[in-house]
Amino acid sequence: MKPAPFEYFRPRSVEEAIELLAEHGPDAKPLAGGQSLIPAMNFRLASPAVLVDLNEAAGLSNVTAQADGLHIGGMTRHRTLERSETVARAAPLVTAAMPFVAHAAIRTRGTLGGSLAHADPAAELPAVMLALDAVFTVQSRQGSRKVRAADFFTGLFTTTLQAGELLTDVAIPRTPPHAAYAFQEIARRHGDYALAGVAAAVAVDERGRCTSARVALLSVSDRPVLAEHASRALEGEQPTEEAIRAAAAAAAAHDIDPPGDIHASSAYRRHLAAVLMRSVLERAFIDAGRPFRAA
């Protein structure tokens, strides 16, 4: 299969890329790793008139730990995230999720910014960024704006990104003390689109009480979903087995209304989400408690 004809630009800088995107407006699509856009074009499900290839634009793939948290450039490859020690130290949830992101070959090309801007409801990184309360920097000719992950994803393959805008940076806030993370998903084969998945970031105080619990789900809606009922049920409480079970059940019942398909019915996805939330939260709270118990 071959894509429809398109014009191709390869800018050398972010500024040049933004100029090109502004000039061509809604006809132009930025090309990052091309692991979703190119297949869509080959199937003729997408036919942008202009591609602005970001692969030669300098300065978009830095990973740096800064005072306000970890900053990751939009063109950072999945493979870099997977192997980076800076990421493992500052955002271990990202490291935990990376092996689940498609297959090794796709991770070699795919990028963080590309995955977030594409906003596939089955993608891991949007859910991870939601759990971590990440902030995205979006640049355009009009300047730059910051968007929280919770406000960024608006629907199926749809975000608040407008024509002419580029997601250039992802900032993950610094982790509180006694924080821990876990990620799990169920797919029929490893690397396939998950039937359901859960990313969790939790923290406890000196007495082991939950101070925050952010649980994000993937593949259970048209966008990544924050399990608000789980947070509400756990925050301020001792994260006992019973509390975790109740939180997972409440979130599965009230926070999601999963779509069904030939791979899994709506009811099965809801069941999976509850099981995964329980398992992920138990693991995270055990990890979060460890430094406290050892002290």
Binding site: R44, A46, P121, G155, L156, F157, D222, D261, I262
Partner: protein, 156 residues
């Protein structure tokens, strides 16, 4: 795919019924409808373009035949759509009921088969897309209903 649901319109049943029988209103409400015309008694023909975010999943030629009409209470639809990337075929039924607060509850059930390339590539997305289109259509119909009620009120 089976898609069922309920929706509450903020207006009386007869008005909702009239709305649902008006091709011009439906053409505006159904997302991606480029054309929808009455081609015979209780028979509509048109062109719809389904798009999801950046994906433009081509055009479908659509025919809809209404049946079992019991105004202003219930009707069924036979839906047939064909396009370069696949097809959609199925049935839907709609039932309207008065609500105590003067609104109208609509209960809909549908069973639609989707096939061709669109189904092999987009299987996992079909239900999400259908739900999204249904929600957009119903909310748009409700807006139209409210503006009709307002213009009725200002005339009288």
């Amino acid at each position: 795919m089976i898609l069922n649901g309920t929706f509450t319109f903020n207006g009386p049943r007869q008005k909702v019924w009239d709305l649902l029988q008006d091709p011009d209103v439906l053409a505006k409400a159904l997302p991606g409808t480029e054309r929808l015309t009455l081609s015979g008694p209780d028979r509509y023909e048109g062109v719809m373009k389904v798009s999801v975010g950046p994906m433009t999943a081509a055009k479908f030629d659509v025919t809809v035949a209404l049946g079992d009409k019991q105004p202003p209470e219930r009707f069924t639809m036979q839906i047939d759509g064909k396009g370069a990337v696949g097809f959609a075929r199925g049935t839907a039924s709609v039932a309207l009921q008065d609500q105590a607060d003067g609104g109208t509850a609509m209960e809909y059930t549908s069973d639609v088969q989707i096939g061709g390339r669109i189904a092999s590539v987009g299987q996992r997305l079909i239900e999400s897309v259908s739900r999204m289109m249904m929600r957009q259509a119903l909310e748009s119909l409700d807006r139209e209903l409210r503006s009709r009620l307002e213009s009725d009120a200002s005339r009288s």
